[in-house]
C-alpha cells in the first residue's frame, strides 16, 4: 500500500449481525428496548407478558402509532437493521406526547432475538391524519438453513458483507382499530431464558406474587440484601421498574416523600422542587408499563435502614463541553452509618432522557480518589441528563464510552461532589458513633444491673460492699448500683465478644464468691449468673 493514502472507515455487516444474537446484559435490558420503542411511538400503555410460570410465550403489546410497511421493509429488506433513524432532522420529541425520543438507530426491536429463535410482529399503524395500514411478519433467526454467525466468520471466503442473520415473511392484513399499535411476540423461546426464569419458581411465595409493584418492592426487594436473592423473574421487574421512563410510586417508595422524614438534612431544598417537577413531567408523558400485569413504577425507598442520619445533596450542572451542551441535575442521598439495602440501590443511576442506563453504578462512575469502601455503601443517587452525553452511550444503550468528553466532565463534577459528601459523612459518622457508643454502654450497664439485682435475691448490698476493688466491676455506693467496666476498646467483632464474655465470667464469679456460704453454693450461683449474663447480654 502506498504511503499517504486516505480513506473512510466502514462497518462490516457482520457487526450488525451481532444485534440479533445478543447485545444485552440482562432480560430486563431486552424488554427495556421494546418498551423504549413503544415510548417513542407515543404509546400510552405497553404490556409485556411472559406466560409466567411457564415462560413459553413472550409478548410486548403497545398502543402506539404502529409501524408502517415501508419502515418494515427499510428495516428488514433494503437497508438492514439499524437503518431506521429515529431522529431525522430536528425531530427530537414525539409528536403526540412530546416525549424526548430515546432511540437513535432503530435496533431495539431485534433485542427480542436474544430471548427467542423466531418472533412475530403485528402492526396496526395509524398516523395523526388517520392513514392506516397493517401487516403481520414472522422473523426467523434460527433454523436448519440459517447459518450460525460463528460458521460464517470462519469461512475462507468471508468478506463481512451480505450477512443473512435470518429470514422473514411478510403479510399485509386488515387494519383493526382495536389493535392499533405494535405487537411483538414469540412462542419460540430460548431454553436458556426459560430455565433461568423457572429458577424463580423456587422462591417462597412466588406462586402468589402480588400484582402490585409497591407490595413486591416491600415484600421482596427491600427485604433482601441483594435483588439477586429475589431470583431472575423479580430481578427483571426490579430492573425494568428502575430503568424505564416512569414516574415514582405514590407513597413512601418515592424520593418525593424524602422531605417528610423529619431527620433528613438537606443542603438545598431545591431538590424537592426538582424531583416534584421531574415527576410531573414524567406523568405528563402518560406512559404506563405492565409486566405480567404488574404496573411498573420507580420504587425507591430511602433510607433503607432505621436509626440512620439521612442527608440529601442536590446538584445541577449546565455547561458547554467541547462546544456541546451538557446538562444534568440530580441528587445524592446518604444514610449514615448503614449500608443501603438492597445492594442494587447503592451507587449512582444515570438517566439519559429519563431512561436508566446500566442500573445503579456502585463504583460512582469509577470513583477512585480515595478508598471509600464503607461510606460508598451509604450513598444512592440519580443523575438526570437532559442534554448531551448521548455520543458516549454505547450501542447496547446500557453503558458509556468512558473516554468521551461529556462522560469525563460528568465524572469529574460528580467525583468532586462525592469528595465533599464522603468527608461530611465521615464526620457525621464519627459524631454519631460517639453518641451511639455512650448510649450503648449505658444500656448494657443497665441490663447488667438488672440481671445482678434479679440474680442476687436481695443480697445485692452485701455483694456491693465487697466488689469495689475489682477492676472488672465498678460499684457506685452513691446509687447502690453495680456497673460493668466496658471501657476496653474492642478490636474486631469477635474480640469484642470475647472481651465481654470474659468480663461477664469475672462478674459472675465475683458475685457468686461473695454471696455463697459454701463451695457448692458458689459453683451453683456462678453457673446461674453466667448463664443469665451470656444469654441476655451477648
Amino acid at each position: 500500500m502506498n504511503s499517504g493514502n486516505r480513506g473512510k472507515i466502514k462497518v462490516a455487516d457482520i457487526t450488525l449481525a451481532h444485534l440479533s444474537r445478543g447485545l444485552y446484559r440482562s432480560n430486563a435490558t431486552v424488554f427495556k428496548e421494546l418498551i423504549n420503542n413503544a415510548y417513542d411511538a407515543d404509546a400510552t400503555v405497553v404490556r409485556i407478558d411472559t406466560n409466567y410460570p411457564h415462560f413459553n410465550f413472550i409478548s410486548c403489546v403497545d398502543n402506539g402509532v404502529g409501524m408502517t410497511e415501508e419502515k418494515f421493509f427499510t428495516h428488514f429488506d433494503e437497508n438492514g437493521i439499524g437503518s431506521s433513524v429515529k431522529r431525522k432532522g430536528n425531530t427530537d420529541c414525539t409528536p403526540i406526547h412530546n416525549r424526548p425520543i430515546i432511540g437513535r438507530l432503530g435496533i431495539g426491536m431485534m433485542a427480542i432475538g436474544q430471548l427467542c429463535h423466531s418472533f412475530k410482529i403485528e402492526s396496526h399503524y395509524q398516523n395523526l391524519d388517520g392513514v392506516s395500514s397493517a401487516f403481520r411478519a414472522t422473523v426467523i433467526l434460527t433454523d436448519d438453513d440459517i447459518e450460525d454467525e460463528e460458521d460464517i466468520i470462519r469461512k475462507d471466503n468471508f468478506s463481512g458483507k451480505e450477512i443473512d442473520v435470518g429470514e422473514w415473511e411478510f403479510e399485509a392484513i386488515e387494519f383493526d382499530p382495536n389493535k392499533k399499535g405494535l405487537r411483538v411476540y414469540s412462542s419460540d423461546i430460548r431454553g436458556t431464558f426459560r430455565r433461568e426464569m423457572k429458577e424463580s419458581l423456587t422462591l417462597d411465595g412466588f406462586k402468589k406474587l402480588p400484582f402490585n409493584i409497591e407490595e413486591i418492592a416491600k415484600n421482596y426487594f427491600y427485604k433482601s440484601k441483594s435483588i439477586r436473592d429475589c431470583k431472575p423473574y423479580l430481578e427483571t421487574i426490579w430492573e425494568l421498574s428502575s430503568l424505564c421512563p416512569l414516574p415514582y410510586s405514590d407513597n413512601d417508595l418515592s424520593p418525593l416523600n424524602f422531605h417528610k422524614n423529619s431527620d433528613l438534612i438537606s443542603d438545598n431544598d431545591e431538590v424537592f422542587e426538582f424531583l416534584k417537577e421531574r415527576n410531573e413531567l414524567l406523568e405528563s408523558y402518560k406512559f404506563e408499563v405492565f409486566f405480567d400485569g404488574v404496573s411498573l413504577k420507580r420504587s425507591i425507598k430511602l433510607p433503607t435502614e432505621k436509626d440512620v442520619k439521612p442527608r440529601i445533596y442536590f446538584f445541577n450542572f449546565d455547561k458547554n463541553i467541547f462546544e456541546k451542551r451538557l446538562k444534568f441535575t440530580g441528587y445524592l442521598f446518604v444514610q449514615i452509618p448503614k449500608a443501603i439495602k438492597p445492594y442494587e440501590l447503592k451507587g449512582l443511576q444515570v438517566r439519559l432522557r429519563n431512561v436508566g442506563i446500566g442500573g445503579y453504578d456502585p463504583s460512582f462512575l469509577r470513583y477512585s480518589r480515595r478508598i471509600e469502601t464503607i461510606r460508598s455503601q451509604w450513598v444512592s443517587g440519580e443523575v438526570f441528563v437532559d442534554e448531551g452525553l448521548e455520543t458516549a452511550l454505547n450501542i447496547d444503550r446500557d453503558s458509556f464510552n468512558e473516554h468521551e468528553e461529556h462522560f469525563k466532565a460528568m465524572q469529574r463534577y460528580l467525583h468532586d461532589l462525592l469528595d465533599e459528601i464522603f468527608d461530611e459523612a465521615r464526620k457525621a459518622a464519627i459524631e454519631l458513633n460517639d453518641v451511639d457508643h455512650d448510649l450503648k454502654n449505658e444500656a448494657t450497664n443497665q441490663k447488667i444491673i438488672e440481671l445482678v439485682e434479679s440474680g442476687s435475691k436481695g443480697k445485692l448490698s452485701l455483694v456491693l460492699d465487697s466488689l469495689n476493688t475489682d477492676r472488672t466491676i465498678i460499684s457506685d455506693p452513691s446509687i447502690s448500683k453495680v456497673v460493668l467496666n466496658l471501657n476496653t476498646t474492642p478490636i474486631g467483632k469477635s474480640r469484642k465478644k470475647g472481651n465481654e464474655a470474659f468480663r461477664l465470667s469475672m462478674l459472675a464469679f465475683e458475685i457468686a464468691k461473695r454471696m455463697a456460704l459454701t463451695e457448692e453454693e458458689r459453683e451453683s450461683l456462678f453457673e446461674n449468673f453466667l448463664k443469665n449474663f451470656i444469654k441476655e447480654t451477648i
Partner: protein, 332 residues
C-alpha cells in the same frame, strides 16, 4: 366486508350463553354440589363466557383473586396477550397456546421422544413439535374438567378431521370424572350436514318405536325433507356425533338444549349443551330418552336480527361487559 367480529354486538352468541350455557352450569353446580368448578374454554379475547360464569358465582376466585380453575386454549399466538389483558389477574398456567385438536391428539415421535423441552434445537420444525408436546402435556395434566366449552373455529362433523378426532379424545381424558358438562359449538355447512344425518335419523325411526311415534305425531318431523337445514344439522350433531360418542366411550348424555344462532355474515352456528355421566349405573334407555328429548324440544333458533332486537339478550351482554370492566379495574 370486514372479517373482524365485534364481540360486544354478537348477540346471537349471547343467546346461547344466556339461555344455554348459564342455566345448565347453574344446575350442574347445584345438582352435584361442586364448590369449585374447573372450566376449560376456547374463549375469544373478550372472555365473555368466563366473566358471565364468574358473575353468576359459578367460577370462583380464590382469596387472592386468582381464577385458579380456568384453563384457556388459544390457537392464535397474537391473541394471547389480549386474553392475558382481559382475564384479570393474569392467570397462572391458564393460557395454553395451540390448536385444541393438535394438543389433544399429540403423540411423541422420534424428534420429540426423550428430548428435553428446554433444548435449543436448531430446526424450527422440531422446536415447534417440542413446543406442542409441552403444551399438550400441560393441557392433559389439567384434565378432567367439570365444564368444557368446546368452541373451536370450524365444524365438528367430519369424522376424519383432526378436530373431530381431537374432540373424541375429550371423552377419554374425562374418564376420571363421574360427570361433566359440555358446550359444543360448531359452524354449519348445510349441504354436508343434511346428507350426513339423514341416514341416522331414518335408522332411528326404524329402530325405535317411540321415535317413530313421536315423528308421526309431529307435523314438523314427519316430513324430514321439509325441516330447515339448520334443524337437521343441529339435531344431527347431537344425535350422530355426541350421543354416538357417548355410547362409544361409555358415557350417557343428556341434552339441556341446542341453540342455533346467526353471525353478522349470516352464517349459522350451533351450540349444544350436554351433560355427561358415567354409565356404570347405566339407564339402558338413556339413548332413546335423549333422542326423544332432542327431537321434542330442540333446537331453539334465533336469527341475527331477532337477537339484535332482543332487549334481554342485549342487557345481559352489557351486564357481563360492565362486570368485566369492574374486575379489570380492580387490577390496574
Amino acid at each position: 366486508m370486514s372479517g373482524l367480529v365485534d364481540w360486544s354486538k354478537y348477540y346471537g352468541k349471547q343467546f346461547a350463553r344466556l339461555y344455554g350455557w348459564l342455566p345448565a352450569s347453574k344446575d350442574f353446580k347445584k345438582k352435584y354440589k361442586i364448590k369449585k368448578i374447573k372450566y376449560l374454554t376456547l374463549c375469544d379475547v373478550t372472555a365473555l363466557d368466563i366473566f358471565m360464569l364468574e358473575s353468576e358465582g359459578i367460577l370462583i376466585r380464590d382469596k387472592d383473586k386468582f381464577l385458579q380453575d380456568v384453563i384457556i386454549c388459544e390457537k392464535n399466538e397474537s391473541s394471547i396477550p389480549a386474553i392475558f389483558e382481559a382475564v384479570k389477574p393474569p392467570l397462572k398456567e391458564a393460557i395454553i397456546e395451540g390448536k385444541i385438536e393438535k394438543l389433544l391428539l399429540f403423540e411423541d415421535d422420534n424428534d420429540t421422544k426423550d428430548v428435553d423441552i428446554y433444548t435449543d434445537v436448531k430446526s424450527k420444525k422440531i422446536r415447534e413439535k417440542l413446543r406442542l408436546k409441552e403444551n399438550a402435556i400441560q393441557l392433559k395434566e389439567h384434565f378432567p374438567f367439570d365444564i368444557i366449552n368446546f368452541d373451536p373455529f370450524g365444524n365438528i362433523y367430519r369424522r376424519q378431521s383432526e378436530l373431530f378426532r381431537g374432540f373424541q379424545k375429550i371423552f377419554e381424558f374425562q374418564r376420571s370424572k363421574q360427570q361433566f358438562l359440555l358446550f359444543l359449538t360448531s359452524s354449519v355447512e348445510i349441504g354436508d350436514c343434511a346428507l350426513l344425518f339423514e341416514e341416522d335419523f331414518r335408522k332411528n325411526i326404524v329402530d325405535y318405536e317411540e321415535i317413530r311415534i313421536l315423528v308421526e305425531s309431529d307435523s314438523n318431523l314427519r316430513n324430514y325433507n321439509t325441516l330447515h337445514d339448520t334443524v337437521k344439522a343441529s339435531i344431527g350433531i347431537s344425535k350422530t356425533i355426541i350421543n354416538k360418542l357417548a355410547i362409544q366411550y361409555k358415557w350417557q348424555s343428556f341434552h339441556h338444549g341446542i341453540y342455533v344462532y346467526q353471525n353478522a355474515h349470516g352464517r349459522f352456528q350451533i351450540s349444544s349443551v350436554v351433560e355427561f355421566t358415567q354409565n356404570s349405573s347405566l339407564e339402558e334407555d338413556w339413548y332413546l330418552k335423549d333422542v326423544v328429548n332432542i327431537l321434542k324440544n330442540m333446537p331453539k333458533t334465533i336469527t341475527f336480527e331477532e337477537a339484535e332486537n332482543n332487549q334481554l339478550i342485549k342487557d345481559s351482554l352489557e351486564f357481563i361487559e360492565d362486570y368485566r370492566s369492574k374486575i379489570q379495574k380492580e387490577f390496574i
